[in-house]
Symmetry: D5
Subunit: 146 residues, 10 copies
């Protein structure tokens, strides 16, 4: 079973079990952003983590095994990139990407934000004009070193 098939089984099982992504994270004792990404195939889980998931969601052994495999972290499929909820992040990068690059270099010099030594969060910020989605990317700066 591929990690994608396991992710699909997880999504259905989670819905049937009526458990939120946040509750799964709480049981695992990790951030909800990490565990949701791992359950959708982007990170390998430990055997202990996979067992907890299996008990919570009643997924089968092959799925639990697939969750532990080393992933290929693949590009998003076209139907994911173009989904409006995901697309707006690409649109924001389209509008602000060059400004982000200039401001990182101004603050840190020549280098990058690591996407490996990295964490992110998705949060709700209440606002009188309508609540807001706040997504934070937080990665170690790496400078070009020869």
């Amino acid at each position: 079973m591929s990690k994608q098939e396991a992710a699909q089984q997880v999504r259905v099982a989670r819905r049937r079990a009526g458990i939120s992504w946040a509750q799964i994270a709480e049981q695992l004792g990790v951030a909800k952003e990490w565990s949701t990404a791992a359950l959708l195939g982007s990170h390998p889980m430990t055997e202990a983590q996979a067992e907890i998931v299996q008990q919570l969601l009643d997924i089968d052994d092959a799925a639990a095994e697939a969750l532990q495999m080393q992933p290929y972290r693949a590009p998003l499929a076209e139907d994911v990139i173009s989904d409006p909820t995901v697309y707006r992040f690409h649109e924001a990068l389209m509008v602000y990407g060059p400004a982000i690059k200039e401001l990182i270099h101004e603050e840190f010099g020549d280098g990058i934000m690591s996407a490996i030594n990295f964490q992110m969060s998705v949060e709700r910020r209440p606002h009188p004009g309508g609540d807001r989605v706040v997504v934070t990317f937080d990665g170690k700066f790496l400078d070009y070193q020869w």
Copy 2:
């Protein structure tokens, strides 16, 4: 003169003038993320803003006029997308995009983070293991309404 040509003139002029992006923002009285994006062609400036920029950077009249034009907010060129500093953000979306979608729907229901009613920030967070780049996306939630 296109907004892209004006942006290129701004970049060279800013370097020669020895003024930081943050200092330009301060003179304009706006966030550095907004003004940098506007100077690179993603937002139209008012006539007053364009005049301040012209005085600070000694750009020509055609460039100052171009800064005020309504932009086409175009996709990033291949050489920008693949630049490692910009690419890491796409890689992070690749790894976390589906998780972001699930978590937005869990928290808010069916809808999107607006990329129009939206602001973002680029900041340095000191860290003993190496300082970190923190980029925050902050947009109004919009639910699907018929």
Copy 3:
């Protein structure tokens, strides 16, 4: 079962049942444009709506469940984009897209028509030279706000 497979089952079942898309909408008490899009996978249905559909069309439980899932709103497949009935709308955007942009900015300023706070309609307009297809896009204007 994916929403695409459910949509395919709906199309066949609707044809066998001899029920029109408009009649399904009437039973659901919603606009025919919304329900047809939802049945083809673009919007999630409530459990109550899915049950009505199941009774009308005699689709199986898995299809009824799929209709309630949160969709990925994917780009049209090549065989749909190129279908002449669909393609003419892309051709019209090709011919009039830049004019639409100019006229929206002239009337409203810098911003967009929302595709989330949005509804559309498909209607027949009788005409002596041959009846006409009238499709209306109606979305809230959103201005760029920082």
Copy 4:
């Protein structure tokens, strides 16, 4: 001079002259949607129309001649398709395209909405929750005839 170069000259000249697209249309005695599209290169103008434009906007002879040439009605460039104001229309077709096709066939049978015998409009509709952009596509139905 190409029609694209003429369109660019028109855009700059119109801004300097402080004349709206609607005013140009009024002078020409045509719909603002048609004239804006024609001035941006999608339709050929008559010699009389081009002369009126030349007087209003003070464009040069080559541009006035280009406005009269038979166009190649080309696909939108990537920077136009991805511009958020234009993109939302493609997103709406993405979400509703298959429903539009089903509803046209249900109402009219096998055939298409003509994009040649066709007109469209862009209008503002006041609304307490925020004014709305209303774009209407109106084309003759053509049925498949052997």
Copy 5:
């Protein structure tokens, strides 16, 4: 069963039955070009036509039903476009496309040959230097009308 699968079944069944495309057309009382296209999935057949085909070729009920469905008229797959017999038509359009456009506009003005109100034929023309394939496209002229 999709129309493509039905088309594949038709091709095999026709070969086994030893009936030519022209003979099928004769039984249906339609042009061989129309019926061959319909049997390959480009046009919907009536129930009566599908029954005649079923009797002639001994295809199953699902295939006969698929022949009656409203098609998506999809672009040719790469293996069809590149097939030398099909490719030569694309090569001819490559060489003569712009000339065809100029000559249509010279003869008819601004507009198109309809591909909906349209018929075509494939014929053999005897010739001492080797017989010739003669393919004729015949569509109603449609002029741009606002």
Copy 6:
């Protein structure tokens, strides 16, 4: 000067001179389809032909020389393929391509219609329901020979 630049000069010069494509062909003593294609860059002209064109249209020496050069017969640019007048021919191939292939093989066996030993015509056919564009492709059949 490239053949494309020469073609552009020819188009403008022809319009200014008020001479039709058919009249140029008549002066050259060749079919209007061949000469129009040659003037647009798809075929090399002889020195004598280029001289007649130069006299008729008052093009410069470099253009007249370019008309005589051996062409690269290139694929149509995107703006030509998508032009509605040209696109309808591709749409017709999309709908009828596989039927054309089947009918050629049924009539001739395994092989192709040559696009080299080939001629085509564009004609008007009067019709009470609206005059029709008739385009004929006529090429020698070539069978696969080892």
Copy 7:
């Protein structure tokens, strides 16, 4: 069964039977280049040829039937084009393609080497510096004829 599936069955069966491509050709009484291409799906075989192949390789009836079907001669899949043994031929065309075109026109005038009235060979040429692969393309010259 498609011709591709038949080709795959042939490859496995040939390996198990321990018969070379050259031996199959010998039994068929044709060139090994033709029969290998036919067995891999590029040419239709006669019923007699397919029977000989079936006896030699013990393939099933559906495969033998597929070998006789009229092929779509499709473009090479990416995994075939990029295979180093095949890719070097594309690389050679990349380096020498324009020279081949110039030399054909210098020797023959405006026209092409036919790929239909065509044969090719693959041979070993002994050489003290290492034996060489010699592949010869041999096609009838066709000149552009109107």
Copy 8:
């Protein structure tokens, strides 16, 4: 000056000078296939070779210098690949590529024909049914060695 610009200058100069590609090769004392490819930018020439070319064709110093530069051996542009004279070679690889691979492995084992230690020829072979173009690829076999 790029090698492509030099190649273009060479083509025009050769035509004006009335010298054949074969005559240039003869003056250089090399195969006409090598020198034509080198003059079109695929191989670097020595200073002595470039001087001979300069004298024969009267090209300028920058072009003569460009001929000596180390090339980037680039893929063929789309207008070259699709040119019918060049395309037929790609079509032949499309039809025979897999057979070539099988026959090379049958004769030589796992490995490739070198495209570096390689030569090719273009020749006319007289034939009663029409003279033939014969193109030979001749490269050293290289086996996979670890």
Copy 9:
């Protein structure tokens, strides 16, 4: 069974057997880089090698047979290219590719590093600032020879 399916079976079997890639290589008596590539489908194994693998990993006969087949050495799939562990190598080629080309030509003249007469290694180099991945490409230089 394809080589890709065999590779997938090998990966799962290796994990279950708890044997490292290096241990398999040791049993085979070859470099771990060669055997890992071969087990993943890039090289054919001998019958003896396949038998050893079968005993070590308990794979089935079809997989063992597939390991011996001549491979198509295909391009990496998108999900492999974009995997961050693999992508960094493409990024390094992006940054250093032109420099590598210049330095090879400076040292060796016009030619290439063979990818056929070639070996590579993956090693860990301890380093106080964090251990390093060292990957070495080592191929015979081949100069362009006519």
Copy 10:
């Protein structure tokens, strides 16, 4: 002046000055791999470095300034990727990429070789069967850390 134009000026100037890439590196006191990449646009130089280059190669002020600018590290253009000297490295990644990934994970766990904290070398290794090109990639291992 862009960094690409500066790189082109450097290449020509270096050739005219008769100075090797290695000699430039020696004057700069850096590795030849770093300085060649920097001169070709992949790294920014300090003002002092740019001055040394200017003296050695006699490039103009704009080029010296461009060498100091922060680069966009763009993907290789198609003509560079397909150049045989560069392509062989992509072919090697094609054949060994998945094996490299497996071996890195086996040795280091889940993570990547940094392409930022990274150096590489190009060397000649004498060999009786023909000297060899040895290219080494050496980057810090980064493990996935949340």
